[in-house]
């Protein structure tokens, strides 16, 4: 077993068994509608499901939006289901628990039902309430949210303080008092949080790599050799960036923080380095803005002010390397392997996204050369 969180170690073993499964076929829309109705028949008799529609976007889960009518009071929900493989390897139970833990503290979609063992739906599934808002200005025609999204003026100055306040709330959250049974706190020694993290992603790379990229091997070895201590264990969102929150386009208010599936307990610097990664930012008139919100120095200074947490530049550098490595693993290993095995409903998107792989190899080589020169 991999030296990582126990639940994640189990996931890594389970996914090996899925490797030989036949091609994944997208769920039939009418069958999903029938499954949703029978789910609610057993739990909320009298409630009726209608207007079931498949959602676009995303690169890991199959998603359906639907209306649930209870005594004439309609409400909209989203069903999220796992294909055989995807661009991430995550647990619906952990996502469900963390959404419920932050409900009332942060704007998050309310998680209402979970079918973790696929007892009813054909694969693990979760149902969440729909939250109004957009992930990008409607004038932005890019199809993959978050990559190259430009909020622009004045929106970015309205969104940025909320974005940083919410990140501060996540990092300062009292996870020890929360109901998070699927999470294990890495408290054995100061290096365990990040050692667990590295071993989890390394095992994914070993299982899924479609090419033996030398720079990735060097990065893996560097990350293993230089694991920093983590003095304060935080909730780490794992994918905190523009594109992964909803906002009201009329006033710029963030209405929901999304995509918690890669959440874990560890070093908060991972989130900071992620949000200011080049691939999630904008280059306009020679100015780079992380998540199109602010240049990195401003972003970090405002985070420190909002959170009271000091940013350790050495750790930020470590997690900058980690995030480029993790990003490559997501798009060029997991995504490509899922597409090659025909184990996802979005193979054509996954092979498109894999083209970002060289960007991360370039970044890793640049960062490791800086290390070599010191």
């Amino acid at each position: 077993m991999t030296d990582t969180e126990p639940l994640l170690a189990s996931l890594l073993e389970e996914r090996k068994a899925r490797r030989g499964l036949p091609p994944y076929l997208p769920q039939d829309d009418r069958a999903v509608a029938a499954l949703l109705q029978s789910w609610y028949d057993a739990r909320e008799p009298g409630a009726t499901v209608h207007d079931v529609a498949r959602m676009g976007g995303g690169a890991s889960r199959e998603q359906f939006i639907f209306t649930l009518d209870r005594d004439g009071a309609p409400a909209r929900y989203i069903l999220r289901m796992d294909p055989t493989e995807g661009i991430t390897e995550t647990s619906r139970a952990r996502e469900y628990e963390i959404l419920r833990a932050f409900d009332g503290t942060l704007p998050v979609p309310k998680a209402v039902w979970l079918d973790i063992d696929a007892d009813h739906f054909p694969c693990p599934a979760m149902i969440v309430e729909v939250v109004a808002g957009v992930t990008k200005p409607t004038s932005d025609q890019l199809s993959v949210t978050g990559l190259g999204t430009v909020l622009g003026d004045p929106l970015r100055d309205i969104v940025r303080p909320q974005f940083l306040d919410h990140l501060a709330t996540i990092h300062n959250f009292d996870w020890a008092s929360a109901d998070l049974p699927s999470f294990t706190a890495p408290t054995d020694d100061p290096k365990q949080p990040t050692r667990w993290l590295i071993q989890f992603w390394k095992e994914l790379l070993e299982q899924d790599a479609v090419t033996k990229e030398p720079v990735l091997r060097l990065a893996t070895q560097w990350l293993e050799d230089n694991v920093p201590d983590c003095e304060n264990i935080s909730v780490v969102h794992g994918d905190y960036r523009t594109g992964n929150y909803l906002f009201d386009e009329r006033d710029g208010r963030i209405t929901a923080i999304l995509d918690w599936e890669m959440c874990y307990l560890g070093d908060l610097h991972a989130d900071l380095a992620w949000a200011i990664q080049p691939v999630f930012g904008s280059h306009i008139d020679g100015v780079f803005r992380g998540s199109d919100l602010a240049p990195p120095a401003q972003f970090l200074a405002e985070y420190e002010a909002a959170s009271g947490n000091r940013v350790d530049r050495a750790k930020l550098h470590y997690f900058t390397i980690f995030n480029a490595w993790k990003s490559y693993i997501l798009v060029a290993a997991l995504g490509m392997r899922a597409a090659r095995q025909a184990h996802n409903h979005q193979d054509v998107l996954l092979t498109f996204l894999a083209a970002t792989g060289p960007l991360f190899v370039d970044e890793l080589a640049r960062l490791l050369m800086m290390e070599e020169s010191q």
Binding site: P214, R217, V279, H283, P358, A365, M369
Partner: protein, 158 residues
């Protein structure tokens, strides 16, 4: 050649754009998105088609250069000697497609890096890394330029 590759790909694009896409209801979000992505893929593949053999040959040349640089660095014990010999053998093997040969060299490079790291050959490993990283970066720059039409690389389009 009649029909040419371009004739055939253009006809596929036209069928997707003028027949399949309009036949999909507005509510078919995923299907519409995937048709658009499929068309994008085909258009980029079409634009890269003539340059693809040279790109793959260039990749093989770059991986071969990296292998030669690594083999020029002396050091290590018996396990490393075996990994070096395997890399040299891959480099000398001229059978197969360029892309397959490039991957075979990558695998042998990977094995040598793992052996050097696991064996605690720190100085030797450091010298290997110093040789690989600039070459890896130069290769990545070519691949970034190759995939720039996909539109994800904000630095390339800045």
């Amino acid at each position: 050649m009649n029909p040419s590759v371009d004739d055939r790909l253009n006809s596929v694009l036209r069928a997707l754009q003028s027949v399949v896409l309009p036949a999909l209801p507005e509510s078919a979000n995923l299907a519409r998105e995937q048709i658009m992505l499929a068309m994008g893929h085909i258009q980029i593949i079409q634009a890269q088609r003539d340059a693809t053999p040279a790109h793959e040959a260039g990749e093989l040349a770059d991986m071969s250069d990296m292998a030669r640089e690594m083999l020029a660095i002396a050091g290590g014990g018996e396990p490393i000697a075996a990994a070096r010999a395997a890399l040299a053998a891959r480099l000398a093997d001229e059978d197969g497609l360029s892309r397959d040969r490039a991957e075979a060299i990558r695998e042998a490079i990977d094995a040598l890096l793992r052996t050097a790291h696991a064996g605690g050959e720190r100085d030797y490993h450091r010298r290997l890394a110093a040789a690989i990283l600039p070459l890896g970066r130069a290769r990545a720059a070519k691949d970034r330029a190759w995939f720039a039409p996909m539109g994800f690389d904000s630095e390339m389009s800045a």
